[in-house]
C-alpha cells in the first residue's frame, strides 16, 4: 500500500506544532499501525531527518501506552482496539491518514505525538487504591467470598488500561469513563468499602482540578474505548458521588 501521512510534529511542549506530510510506500496490509509508523521512522532516519516521537510499550493491547488520533478517531477507525492492535487492512491504497496526538488541556503535548497523561496518575493517587498491609501477610484469595456477579462487574471495570481514548474522543474532554471505571472497580468488592466515600470524592475532585471537561452523556467514550468500558459505570459513579456528598461531614 502507498499512503500519504499527515503527522503532527512539535519540537517540545513549548513549541507550536504543525501537520507535516510524508509519503510511505510498500506497507503490508498485515502490518499493525505502529509497524507502519516504524517504517516511516526508518525512512526519516535514512533521509537524515528527526523520527516521529510516539508512545508505545506492549504492542499487544494491554498497557494503554499507545495513543494517537487517527483520521478523526481515537485509536483509528476500528472498534475495541488500541492503536498497536489496529491493522493496516483498515485502510486503502492511496489513502491520506491524519495522525494527531490525543487533545485535551489535561493531556499536554510533550513532543510530536506524545502527550503527558500524568493527570490520570494523579487521579489514581487521589484514591484509586486500597490501604492494606500486603507485606508478608497476604491472605488466601478464597478466604474472602465474593459473589460471582459482583466479581464480574469489578473485573469489567478493572479492564480499563488508562489509555485516555475516552478523553481524546469526548467533545468535552471529559475523563468520566476512566474515573468511573477506577471508582467502580473497588466499589463492588469488600476490600474497597472502607475508603469508599473518600475515594469517589477525592478522585472526582482531582479530576476536576486537572482541567478535564464535564460529561454530557454523548456516549462517544464507550464506543471508542478499546476495552468496552460501559457508561453504566459513569451512572454508578454519579450515584456514589451523590451519596458520599450527602453523607460527608464537611
Amino acid at each position: 500500500m502507498n499512503l500519504t501521512l499527515k503527522v503532527w510534529r512539535q519540537k517540545d511542549a513549548k513549541s507550536k506544532g504543525k501537520l507535516e506530510s510524508y509519503p510511505v510506500s510498500g506497507i503490508s496490509e498485515h502490518a499493525s499501525f505502529l509497524e507502519m509508523m516504524d517504517v516511516l521512522n526508518e525512512q526519516l532516519i535514512n533521509e537524515g531527518k528527526e523520527p516521529v516521537a510516539f508512545d508505545h510499550d506492549c504492542r499487544e493491547g494491554i498497557c494503554g501506552m499507545c495513543s494517537l488520533y487517527i483520521n478523526g478517531e481515537a485509536h483509528g477507525p476500528d472498534r475495541g482496539v488500541t492503536t498497536c492492535q489496529l491493522h493496516m487492512r483498515m485502510f486503502k491504497d492511496g489513502d491520506t491518514i491524519y495522525i494527531e496526538p490525543f487533545r485535551s488541556k489535561a493531556f499536554p503535548v510533550l513532543k510530536d505525538l506524545i502527550v503527558d497523561r500524568g493527570s490520570f496518575e494523579r487521579i489514581q493517587q487521589a484514591g484509586g487504591f486500597i490501604s492494606v498491609n500486603t507485606s508478608g501477610n497476604t491472605q488466601d484469595a478464597n478466604s474472602l467470598p465474593i459473589a460471582k456477579p459482583m466479581a464480574d462487574k469489578a473485573m469489567d471495570a478493572a479492564t480499563c488500561i488508562g489509555c485516555g481514548a475516552c478523553v481524546a474522543t469526548c467533545k468535552n474532554s471529559s475523563a468520566m469513563l476512566f474515573v468511573a471505571a477506577k471508582v467502580s472497580q473497588y466499589s463492588y468488592l469488600p476490600q474497597g468499602q472502607v475508603e469508599r466515600k473518600e475515594r469517589v470524592l477525592n478522585m472526582v475532585d482531582q479530576m476536576d482540578k486537572e482541567g478535564f471537561g464535564n460529561c454530557t452523556n454523548t456516549g462517544a467514550c464507550e464506543v471508542e474505548c478499546p476495552k468496552g468500558i460501559s457508561l453504566e459505570f459513569i451512572a454508578r459513579m454519579n450515584k456514589e458521588y451523590s451519596s458520599a456528598s450527602v453523607k460527608a461531614e464537611n
Binding site: 478523526g72 478535564f212 471537561g213 460529561c215 454519579n238 450515584k239 458521588y241 451523590s242
Partner: protein
C-alpha cells in the same frame, strides 16, 4: 452534604438533570392546559384565570419555575464554555458523528433555540397577562389572545420550529437525565430510552397540534379562507 457538591463536575451534572426533570414535568402541566383550549374556550379561560391569580401558583410555583429555567440554561451555557476550554487545540481531522448522535452533541444549540422561543413566548403571553392582572387591572380574554397570536403565520411558523428544537433537545435530554442522577440498569435503561422517544415526540407534538388547531381555526374563519 459536602460543600464541594455544587462546584464539582458530577454535582453540577446532577443539578442539570434535576432542573431538566423539573422542566419536563412543567412541560406536561403546561401542555395539559393548552389542550383545554382545543375543547372549550370558557374552560381554557377559567384555567388560565386560575393559574394567573392563584397565590400558590403565582408566588410559589412560578418563582421556582423561573429559577429552574434560569439555573438550567445558565449552568448549561457555563458548562459548555468550560468544556470548550478543556480542548484548547482542536483536531485537524475529527469525526464526531462516528460515535455520538447529533442531538447529544448539540444540546446547547437546541437549548439556545428553546431559550429564544421562551423569550418570544413571554412577550406574547406572559407579560400581557401580568400587565392585565397587576397593572391595568383589565379583564383579559386568554383564549382571544392565543387565537390572535396563532393567526399570524410567522408566529405560527416560529412556534412549530421551536417545538421541533424542543423535541431534539428532549430526545437526548430525557434519557440523559436518568444517567446523570445515576440510574442505569440492564433491564430498565432500554425501556427509559424508548420512553425518551415517546416523551420527546409526544409532548412537542401535543403543543404543535394546539398551535395547528388555532392557526387553521383563524385561517378558516377569515374572509380569504378558501377551504
Amino acid at each position: 452534604m459536602s460543600k464541594g457538591f455544587s462546584k464539582s463536575s458530577v454535582g453540577r451534572k446532577v443539578l442539570m438533570a434535576l432542573s431538566g426533570f423539573f422542566l419536563m414535568f412543567f412541560l406536561v402541566q403546561h401542555l395539559a392546559i393548552n389542550l383545554i383550549s382545543v375543547f372549550s374556550a370558557d374552560s381554557f379561560n377559567a384555567a388560565s384565570e386560575f393559574m394567573g391569580t392563584n397565590p400558590l401558583v403565582q408566588f410559589a410555583l412560578q418563582p421556582v419555575l423561573f429559577f429552574g429555567i434560569i439555573f438550567h440554561l445558565a449552568m448549561g451555557i457555563y458548562l459548555e464554555l468550560k468544556n470548550r476550554a478543556a480542548r484548547p487545540i482542536k483536531y485537524a481531522m475529527n469525526k464526531p458523528s462516528e460515535n455520538a448522535s447529533w442531538v447529544s452533541r448539540n444540546m446547547v444549540i437546541t437549548g439556545i433555540m428553546i431559550l429564544l422561543f421562551v423569550g418570544l413566548h413571554m412577550v406574547h403571553f406572559f407579560f400581557p397577562t401580568i400587565n392585565a392582572h397587576y397593572i391595568t387591572h383589565e379583564h383579559l380574554d386568554a383564549y382571544e389572545m392565543v387565537a390572535n397570536k396563532m393567526a399570524n403565520p410567522v408566529y405560527f411558523g416560529i412556534y412549530i420550529l421551536a417545538f421541533i428544537f424542543l423535541a431534539l433537545h428532549l430526545l437526548h435530554g430525557f434519557q440523559s437525565a436518568f444517567q446523570s442522577v445515576g440510574f442505569n440498569h440492564n433491564k430498565y435503561t432500554p425501556i427509559i430510552k424508548k420512553l425518551s422517544y415517546l416523551y420527546a415526540i409526544a409532548v412537542p407534538l401535543g403543543y404543535a397540534i394546539v398551535a395547528v388547531y388555532h392557526f387553521t381555526n383563524a385561517c378558516c374563519s377569515s374572509a380569504s379562507c378558501s377551504l
